[in-house]
Symmetry: C2
Subunit: 205 residues, 2 copies
DNA sequence: AGTGATTTGCACAATGGCGTGCAACTGCAC
DNA sequence: GTGCAGTTGCACGCCATTGTGCAAATCACT
């Protein structure tokens, strides 16, 4: 157990990765899962988890960091080189969807409090670029809403979360989810339903 | 402390009510607040809380029951005697908004798990009447969406939650929130932004 | 088979929350 | 002021969870 922190061996790496994966899934179900439950679910003993992560906070922190990173990347890729805000938003949603779906635990954790409020802070860069996108669209008439851009950004965020739940509950087929999400988000931002549908259909090859 | 369960005295009633109010607020901030924190916030000792509610579960259960009741009532009132699905949905949102905002803790709790999954069940009556409303609107063309009615209901729900957060964070003025919520929900359901705005403006006196 | 990294299986102290019991206290009403 | 509902303050016992220590077992690789 000496060089457990080194993590260069295949076994250790595999375990570390599995722990992270399982922890993600378990925390998704219940933000309060015990370290023991996580360990067992990963086919490992509690003590081993502590061999890879000094404490619960670090474990979750790693998860959150990974998630935010992936999310920010996808978001950036979606907007890259697209000037029309409407199309940019559509592309963003399509790009972000798979990652957001995977790291859905962010919601559950963000919805909680105090110590976890840091998550909201970490997400602000993503959110603020969303706001900028929406603002531009509202200014030049591509979007239309009763809400100011920042509030609209909240709504967009929540819509995605709502659709994740819907997918979870089998109300929307997985393979259509991303397109449906993009279309719904555009619609919520005041893009006529028919235009939203054709635009998204054209973008999603 | 003998007849503490009777609760006919003014003092006991006042305390019970204050405990419920404070518990709502505290649970809103953190679904995991301790009974002690709730008690202190209510200006009372922990032991006294147990005088009114046998255990934490009962306390929360009371809160949830009250919330669901109020929500269902408001929802029913909103739809009462309105045949046009679009207008009915708008009225529903306007009617439900204040109650939903007050009992926002439902979100946090519902988002959590296992023991609390009962909440989603208790909410199904409300949700299913929403679904029926949306379905009717989709059928007769008032609504338009890439989603089936049940999924759209999830989205509507989440939009409301998102707006509550936005209000919380000062992004939307409280007095405009209800109208903005109604307009946004209609827009998300594919009602043209201009029509949604005028309709809601006409309904909200 | 040997070596070093990794995992396991205990045992441990510490924390913190829950629910309860009981005696003393407070306030209001009569 | 006597009485009684309600409250307080402290006492428990109980349980789950966290993070650590250490020796033995296990694994991968040579």
């Amino acid at each position: 157990m000496a060089a457990m922190t080194t993590g260069s061996t295949s076994r250790a790496d595999a375990n570390r990765r599995r722990i992270l994966d399982v922890a993600l899934a378990e925390l998704l179900r219940d933000p309060d899962v015990s370290m023991d439950q996580i360990a067992r679910a990963a086919g490992v003993v509690r003590r081993t988890v502590y061999g890879h992560f000094p404490n619960r906070e670090t474990l979750i922190g790693t998860l959150v960091d990974d998630a935010v990173q992936a999310l920010a990347d996808a978001h950036a890729v979606g907007r890259a080189g697209v000037q029309d805000p409407v199309e940019a938003l559509a592309r963003c949603v399509l790009a972000v969807w798979p990652i957001a779906d995977r790291y859905r635990l962010l919601v559950a954790l963000a919805q909680r409090t105090v110590t976890m409020q840091g998550i909201r802070e970490r997400l602000t860069p993503v959110r603020s670029s969303s706001v900028e996108l929406l603002q531009r669209g509202l200014d030049q008439g591509g979007f239309r809403s009763a809400l100011p851009a920042p509030a609209l950004a909240y709504v967009v965020e929540q819509i995605l979360f709502g659709l994740m739940e819907a997918v979870n509950d089998g109300l929307v087929p997985t393979d259509e989810a991303a397109r449906a999400a993009a279309t719904t988000v555009l619609t919520s931002a005041g893009v006529p339903a028919s235009r939203a549908a054709t635009l998204v259909g054209r973008i999603a090859e």
